[in-house]
Amino acid sequence: MNPKKISAIFQKQVKETLKNKEVLIQFLMFPILVVIMENSIKVEGMPEHYFVQLFATMYIGMAPLVSMTSIIAEEKEKNTLRMLMLSNVKPMEYLIGIGSYILLACMIGACVFAATGEYKGRELAEFLCIMMVGILISMLTGAAIGVWSKNAMSASSVSVPVMMVFSFLPMIASFNEHVKKVSDFVWSGQINNLMNSLGAIDFDMQTVLVLLANGGVVFVLFQIAYKKCGLA
């Protein structure tokens, strides 16, 4: 692997995204929303920083997944990815270049959440770690969908419902016991559980197993998509 090529891809993605409203809005929407909601809505009896935790979980489910899918699918559709491969950029170099950009952008978003939630010390460290794990799994899910699809249209017809399931499941679970049982086996559900015990996280076996198993499944799906469709 060649770090120069990875950095080239990373740089081009920074420039491209600044001019791509659909991807940019994914990164900005929830961080902006959380600042507004936290500062404007105060309801008696609402848990402290309710919106931060709620939106952070949704952000993880949406932004990395949708942006990864749409970037890959668009590059496939426009044949830019093929040009890169023909200039001997390796698939891994490409994915790491794009992925590290999305991770960075989403972690900046995570910092906005952290600042709004006024997290400090252990709380802050835990929050950022959870965000990072969640973002990585979400990104890999997005990559699998992006690789699977032929063009941007078909990619979003899959990524939007998948994104909805992952980001809304934990919220619905908080109102419904039956859904909660399912949600506990899904990574976004566990991420939400972790969010709820920030500052005093005591990793239990189930959390770790669910995260690992989910990550594993997504990775296998990605591998299958990659074998079947390739990158270009």
């Binding site: 090529k5 080239a8 740089q11 081009k12 420039k15 044949n79 023909l86 200039s87």
Partner: protein, 287 residues
């Protein structure tokens, strides 16, 4: 195909390609030498892009072997890719990025100096549009930018898939000029086109592709001469009289006479153009 083995840059032996039941290429044999400009001519759907994809390692053929720069196209590596330039049948440009940024990406990938960018932009006459995003360029400008990108790594072989298709005559001329200038440098150019005139004007050799077979190969002028069955000379005199003479010694004397009298308006030979040759070979018109 009498070139020496060492000077061959592209060797194609018995290439066949099927998609399901459909045979798109059937036992293609071709050799393309050093510094040659070669065109694969054929109507749309003939299999031109398919062959180009096989040669550039984007597609693995059903049968046969192909080599570029002596390496099997199934096993192309960094080393070969750094010596070829490519213009695909889609631009593959980042529409939101500027001309400069599009080229910058490839200098970084190839690990070459940024100075090449301006050099390349100058070469294709896009210096003024340097900062303009690609989605604000005309089709001809985009195509020139693609060519600039393909030349970025100073390639030994340049693959061009329909480089002038859909372009206005001025842009087409610009691109032809660039292709010609490459010949002087010894770059081998493999282009596909369905434009007969382009092939006649530019190429050392052409192959006519029809239903997966090469139905004619050679120098375009020679091919036209070979199909000159009528072998006549047509003369238009200033008084409006039209003559059709056999290409023989007695006609030569007659023409000489007209020329001396200064009454000749035009002289044509009846050589067919490539289009006529194609129609004769396949019984089908080209477009």
């Amino acid at each position: 195909m009498e070139q020496k083995k060492e000077s061959l840059r592209i060797e194609i032996q018995g290439i066949s390609q099927s998609f399901g039941e459909k045979k798109v290429l059937d036992n293609i044999q071709l050799n393309i030498g050093d510094g040659e400009i070669f065109a694969l001519l054929g109507p749309s759907g003939a299999g031109k892009t398919t062959l180009l994809k096989i040669l550039t390692g984007q597609l693995v053929q059903t049968e046969g072997t192909a080599k570029i720069l002596g390496t099997d196209t199934k096993k192309l590596t960094d080393k070969e890719y750094s010596k070829i330039g490519m213009m695909l049948d889609t631009s593959g440009l980042y529409e939101r990025l500027s001309c400069y940024d599009n080229l910058l990406l490839f200098t970084q990938i190839y690990g070459i100096s940024k100075n090449y960018i301006e050099e390349a932009l100058l070469k294709v006459g896009l210096m003024e549009a340097k900062k303009r995003p690609v989605n604000k360029l005309s089709k001809g400008m985009k195509q020139r930018l693609v060519l600039a990108r393909a030349l970025m790594n100073d390639p030994w072989i340049l693959f061009l898939d329909e480089p002038t298709s859909g372009l206005d005559p001025a842009s087409t001329r610009e691109i032809h000029k660039l292709i010609f200038s490459l010949k002087e440098k010894g770059t081998t150019v493999f282009l596909t086109t369905h434009n007969m005139e382009e092939a006649e004007k530019l190429c050392d050799n052409i192959a006519l592709l029809h239903e997966g077979n090469i139905v004619e190969y050679g120098n375009p002028k020679e091919i036209c001469r070979r199909y000159n069955h009528q072998n006549k000379i047509e003369i238009l005199l200033k008084n409006g009289k039209q003559l059709s003479l056999c290409n023989s010694e007695s006609s030569a004397k007659e023409i000489y006479g007209y020329l001396q009298e200064g009454i000749v308006e035009t002289i044509h030979s009846t050589e067919p153009n490539l289009e006529n040759v194609f129609v004769e070979l396949t019984g089908r018109s080209f477009e």
